[in-house]
Symmetry: C2
Amino acid sequence: MTITATEYQARVARAQAGMTAAGLGALLLTTEADVRYFTGFLTRFWESPTRPWYLVVPAQGNPIAVIPSIGAALMGKTWISDIRTWVSPDLVDDGVSLLIATLRDIGGDIGTPFGLESHARMPLAALAQVQAAVTLRSDQGIVAGLRAVKSPAEISKITASCAIAGRAFDRVPEIARKGVPLSHVFRDFQRLCLEEGADWVPYLAGGVGRLGYDDVISPATDEPLAQGDVLMLDTGLIRDGYFCDYDRNYVVGAADPLAADGYACLLDACAAGRAAATVGATAADVFHAMHAVIAQGPGVAGNDPGRLGHGLGMQLTEGLSLIPTDQTPLAAGMVITLEPGLTLPGGGYLVHEDNFVIDPQGARQISPPAWPELRRI
Amino acid sequence: MTITATEYQARVARAQAGMTAAGLGALLLTTEADVRYFTGFLTRFWESPTRPWYLVVPAQGNPIAVIPSIGAALMGKTWISDIRTWVSPDLVDDGVSLLIATLRDIGGDIGTPFGLESHARMPLAALAQVQAAVTLRSDQGIVAGLRAVKSPAEISKITASCAIAGRAFDRVPEIARKGVPLSHVFRDFQRLCLEEGADWVPYLAGGVGRLGYDDVISPATDEPLAQGDVLMLDTGLIRDGYFCDYDRNYVVGAADPLAADGYACLLDACAAGRAAATVGATAADVFHAMHAVIAQGPGVAGNDPGRLGHGLGMQLTEGLSLIPTDQTPLAAGMVITLEPGLTLPGGGYLVHEDNFVIDPQGARQISPPAWPELRRI
């Protein structure tokens, strides 16, 4: 399903309604996801930190791209027609005067994302110049709020990414067995993701241990898989600009009964979270539903990871957090992960994760069904 | 070659000398590369935009990590011992008060990168709180200056990444031929990079066309390769936290003589750039050496990409730019790319790229030798 120019225009119209309510003359956007959300500008070139990219969304009229000339051809293929470029990098004025002129021309206060998980992807020196020239203030969550609710086209893309990861997870027994170093498993799993249709694989994490893993963000070591090890792989792969983000757990040979119990508890917690994740329920409600199940299980509901799930879309994690303090109400069209975890006594952390769309009638899983027991390899 | 604790300590000592000269009490670092440069903290978890990560490098004493608790275990494996954590995400105070207390305790002005290609990876709301509590000003390029000159261990890592990409480039005839869609070539090339030893493949660009490519930052289309097409693949893969960044050009069957001439001109330009890239020469000198050759060739030295090469290391692009205005003198230990390009009459853009270390006796190529003619597939 394609994101049409009509859909981009509707996004702009919704942002403009928000701007009018907030008394803003325009939005200034600087990050990959925010710029792409209104334009469709998709490139891996953001990996290079050298050049800033600016999108200005005025309260009336069409967005204006203020970008390095290297991006003009690609931006010209999107629905955006007002494209203002400079030759970047420019050591003296790297697009700042062009940006300021554009903002001044529109007039009014300029809103930009200020809140949690946002940042301004531009040098602080340039930011200070903009702040000296115009009034720059919080967009009051306009952009994050719009992005949190996905369109059918977006949901179809996230679902496609989930399916690709599912096929790769199914093939893990091809690449993982006793004696294989975790670093090889990581490399080969990314290869499987590509073979199954990923455009690229921005994120892979994992862990290994008989009773769970030490931590879930470390790079893979060359330690070989041992009999009885639980192996977890957690991927955020991209297809057509949208992420999935879920994991699968395996066991080398037979699982320790405690690990098996822990896994069963996490599936139960995920089911409870899914049942709770209805339109109008809050992120906190979903947290508590899962936490209650974990608290009854064989492990400790440690909170080092800080949350039991989050929103998902153009970024690996975005929007709400499943924590006791997040009172964001779930809305139809949101896409979230449920990511219950626990720490086993005498062991490490164990985590299970699946992806869901919030439908009017409840949460619908878009990652393939998890296996009912740790999958033997 | 491992980056030892001694090397990290030496980096801190050099930064501290810079802080003393600049009258700074500490540095505040927020991005993956800057934090890793002083700590060795390597994780793909930065892909998640949710949590900020802070490193404070005081003018005296050891660095202090102010980070989400999910990173404590991994940071604990580095040489850093002062690790202060909070449970993130926290909707009310996501580490900001802990950071401010840490900075105030040290005292003095706080420096942070302000210049080109830097940004503060933290919410603007949090940045405003920090700015209200302490004096935050430019680090005067201390961090970028240190990072620009690579240690032997860093050079060995970049060289290893170059070798991996070289083996993958050699295997492209396995995956690319007439009729294969470019999107398949992109997917399969990343697979080859992983098979040859990449930890992951953050960047891949490319282009196709009989007389060069339309642009060099677009995602791959499903257009099949046609007889006479020039195919360019440009990868930035990661091994052990360090990038390579270079490309290779192929031709499906026989090349148009103009494309062959263009390629030969780019090799000549690269050789001229290499000869010019001696210690003490400026980035601008290297630009002019290459530009003079391109100007004599069969194409137009268009400047949409904005430069003819750049620094390279923990980021795909970092540090100096090969442009007429960059007067940065080359120093021994710098790693740069030479990336001459030209636009063929009636055609598109053609670009060649290789990677070099600046040795005391001159530039030494660390990407494998380029093939003398467009490689036939």
